[in-house]
């Protein structure tokens, strides 16, 4: 079974969510988990929970974690002993197969670049993220994959092609889609749309016989489910992802603002709640909360710093699954 290193401290040093997620996973699966952070704090929380000790180890990393806005340089300092640094070190040295963190994202990226090796044939890694989308068939994965979402701000056509291969392999492995549809995020559907990079990328993707390229994808088609993998440069991906998150927050905000004003609206919201629960994409999106970093020999999973225990638990399971199966899919 894969060994998953979990940065338990995240950004704020509160270990509860990670420990609760790990404890739950230890009872449900046989994944080996290494919790990294302040050992006394982790132990204190763990003893209040049901857990499987045969699958949980703790590695002490007593230094305060990097905050959300801290410069990543501290993590790279010689002798740094914060949980994120130790977790990356364990993976780089082979003591763990992969890692999950809700820590400082730029620091994670820098540590990955510094310590981990790129997979054979890969020249640039990418951060991927999932987003909710419409699906016409019940069996289809309600989450789409978009990459890159911020690791490489500007990309060339070769990078985008590389990302398409990485996304394709990941979706085959995780969503079990036999032939994932790959789309290129662009401003229009015609092949000549966009700048030189996008035109060249379109041409390369079309030529790639191992990819099921469905052409350019416009912004409004993102949520339509036309593609399983959406490829774009880091800047664009990051903006898209954050805008989706912002829209979700606006929807929740509108609903919660409307509900108290009128009892009929409130009743309507309550009745709609069950339906929303059944249409799981949004719910699953929140529970998923893990962004894989693709391209290295290991696939670290990055979680939102406010991820709840369930999301962190799911991220651990995802990390184990990817670590076990990702290599089997030829890039």
């Amino acid at each position: 079974m894969p060994i998953v290193a979990v940065d338990a401290m995240g950004c704020a040093g509160d270990v509860r969510a990670a420990v609760e997620g790990a404890a739950a996973v230890s009872l449900q699966t046989d994944i080996q988990i290494v919790l990294i952070g302040s050992a006394p704090r982790i132990q204190f929380v763990l003893e209040d929970l049901q857990y499987e000790p045969e699958q949980i180890d703790i590695v002490d990393a007593p230094e305060d974690p990097l905050g959300v806005s801290d410069a990543p340089d501290r993590a790279l300092r010689r002798g740094a002993n914060c949980s994120l640094t130790v977790a990356t070190k364990l993976v780089a040295e082979g003591a763990a197969d992969t890692m999950v963190t809700a820590g400082n994202a730029p620091a994670l990226w820098r540590l990955c670049l510094e310590r981990m090796h790129l997979r054979a044939g890969v020249h640039r890694a990418a951060v991927a993220a999932v987003y909710p989308r419409q699906v016409d068939e019940r069996t289809k994965d309600p989450l789409g994959l978009i990459l890159d979402v911020g690791a490489t701000v500007r990309c060339d056509a070769a990078d985008l092609l590389q990302f398409a291969y990485l996304g394709d392999a990941y979706v085959r492995c995780v969503s079990k889609v036999a032939e994932p549809r790959v789309g290129l995020l662009n401003m229009a559907s015609r092949a000549s749309a966009g700048d030189d990079v996008l035109v060249e990328a379109h041409r390369s993707l079309k030529r790639a016989s191992r990819l099921n390229f469905v052409g350019n994808l416009e912004g409004h088609e993102l949520a339509s489910g036309r593609a399983d993998v959406v490829v774009c440069e880091g800047l664009l991906g990051n903006v898209v992802l954050k805008m989706l998150h912002g829209l979700a927050l606006i929807a929740v905000d509108l609903a919660s603002a409307a509900a108290p004003r009128n009892w009929r609206w409130r009743a309507g919201m309550a009745m709609l709640g069950g339906g929303v629960d059944r249409r799981t994409p949004m719910v699953e999106y929140i529970a998923y909360a893990g962004a894989p970093i693709l391209g290295f020999t290991s696939v670290p999973i990055y979680c939102d710093p406010s991820a709840p225990p369930r999301a962190l638990g799911n991220a651990i399971k995802l990390a184990a699954k990817v670590s076990r199966d990702f290599d089997l899919v030829p890039l």
Binding site: A39, E47, E52, P53, Q55, D57, I58
Partner: protein, 337 residues
């Protein structure tokens, strides 16, 4: 507090969920129990090797030893259990079953599910037969009331709780008044002796360990029998060949790999039931016997040496942790069950 040296050892075991992985929490499992043969019964991983090892270790030291079982199951399933013990190569010195039929005949229907009064009575009855200088180790699980019953037993025979307090506790726990009177009578006849060294509770239900804190440091919640064996090794009750046997059984019969074993040992050490020095000695011995990999020895060689030296130099009695259970904290929780 220094202990009086003992020359006899008694190990008292519960059966279901401690020795056997009995499924009595589902209706299907419950119905199946009377029809199960010895071959159908499944022992908890490593438990048979541990019980065999406990007897063998004591005998190698020239100590008199008794292994006893107290069960809340009816005697009708006794034959299958005796066969199972024999199949597992376990020598025992007695098994007590709960005679449910006699309770039904006497119209004592409430007693059918009652465990505290029944087990406490049986334990005290047997304790009267023990000669002075007998140390006891008790083994139960977290499914029913073993932590409470064993703690009460230990505190009663040591004199940590007097008869009045015991009566109050039994009343609060709704123990059948007839049994409470019997327990009181037995308590009166006892010679007080701080005999119970440790109570091991197998966390078959994976109860969070902190929930058992009110029972005091004498009670050790363990997730598997390697953890139990490690604590007993530190106390000198289990010797190296015996704990090696437990590890071998877990590896060979139950598919435990090194990582699961090492994680188990680190967990019991982190929970402070196994001292750092004890863990270092155990790691050195098990790695020396090649039953565990070197990863167990995570500390530096110098720290390891220091820990072992300190263990030798200091007359450290801290492993025999004292203190009665905190019944004031426990009773409101248990009475509300």
């Amino acid at each position: 507090m220094k202990r009086v040296p003992h020359h006899r050892l008694t190990f008292r075991w519960d059966l279901d969920k401690t020795y056997l992985n009995t499924d009595f929490h589902s209706l299907r499992g419950l119905v199946r129990i009377p029809f199960e043969s010895a071959a159908d019964k499944v022992a908890a991983p490593g438990v048979a090797a541990l019980i065999r090892g406990l007897r063998a270790s004591a005998q190698r030291k020239g100590l008199a030893v008794r292994v006893l079982f107290v069960s809340g199951s009816p005697p009708q399933i006794g034959r299958a259990i005796l066969e199972k013990l024999s199949m597992d190569g376990i020598e025992h010195d007695g098994i007590t079953f709960k005679d449910q039929w006699s309770r039904i005949r006497r119209g004592k229907f409430r007693d059918l599910r009652e465990q505290i009064g029944y087990k406490l009575t049986e334990l005290l009855l047997d304790r009267r037969r023990e000669p002075p200088g007998t140390a006891e180790y008790l083994f139960g699980d977290d499914w029913e009331s073993d932590p409470l019953i064993y703690s009460l037993y230990a505190d009663v025979i040591s004199g940590a709780i007097d008869r009045e307090e015991l009566a109050r506790i039994l009343l609060a726990l709704h123990v059948d008044p007839e049994l409470a009177v019997r327990v009181d009578a037995l308590t009166e006849q006892l010679n007080r002796d701080d005999a119970v060294r440790r109570i091991f509770i197998n966390l078959a239900k994976r109860t969070p360990p902190r929930r058992l804190d009110p029972y005091g440091a004498r009670l050790v919640p363990t997730f598997n029998y390697l953890q139990t064996a490690a604590c007993l090794f530190e106390e000198g009750v289990l010797d190296l060949p015996a704990i090696t046997g437990v590890v071998a059984a877990l590896r060979g019969d139950y598919g435990y790999d090194s990582r699961r074993l090492v994680n188990s040992l680190r967990d019991i050490e982190r929970r402070k039931h196994l001292s750092e020095a004890g863990a270092a000695v155990l790691a050195k011995n098990l790695c020396g016997e090649a039953v565990l990999p070197e990863i167990m020895q995570g500390r530096s060689r110098w720290r390891d040496l220091w820990l072992r030296l300190r263990r030798r130099l200091l007359v450290d009695d801290s492993v025999f942790l004292r203190g009665r259970a905190d019944y004031q904290r426990l009773l409101p929780i248990l009475a509300g069950k």
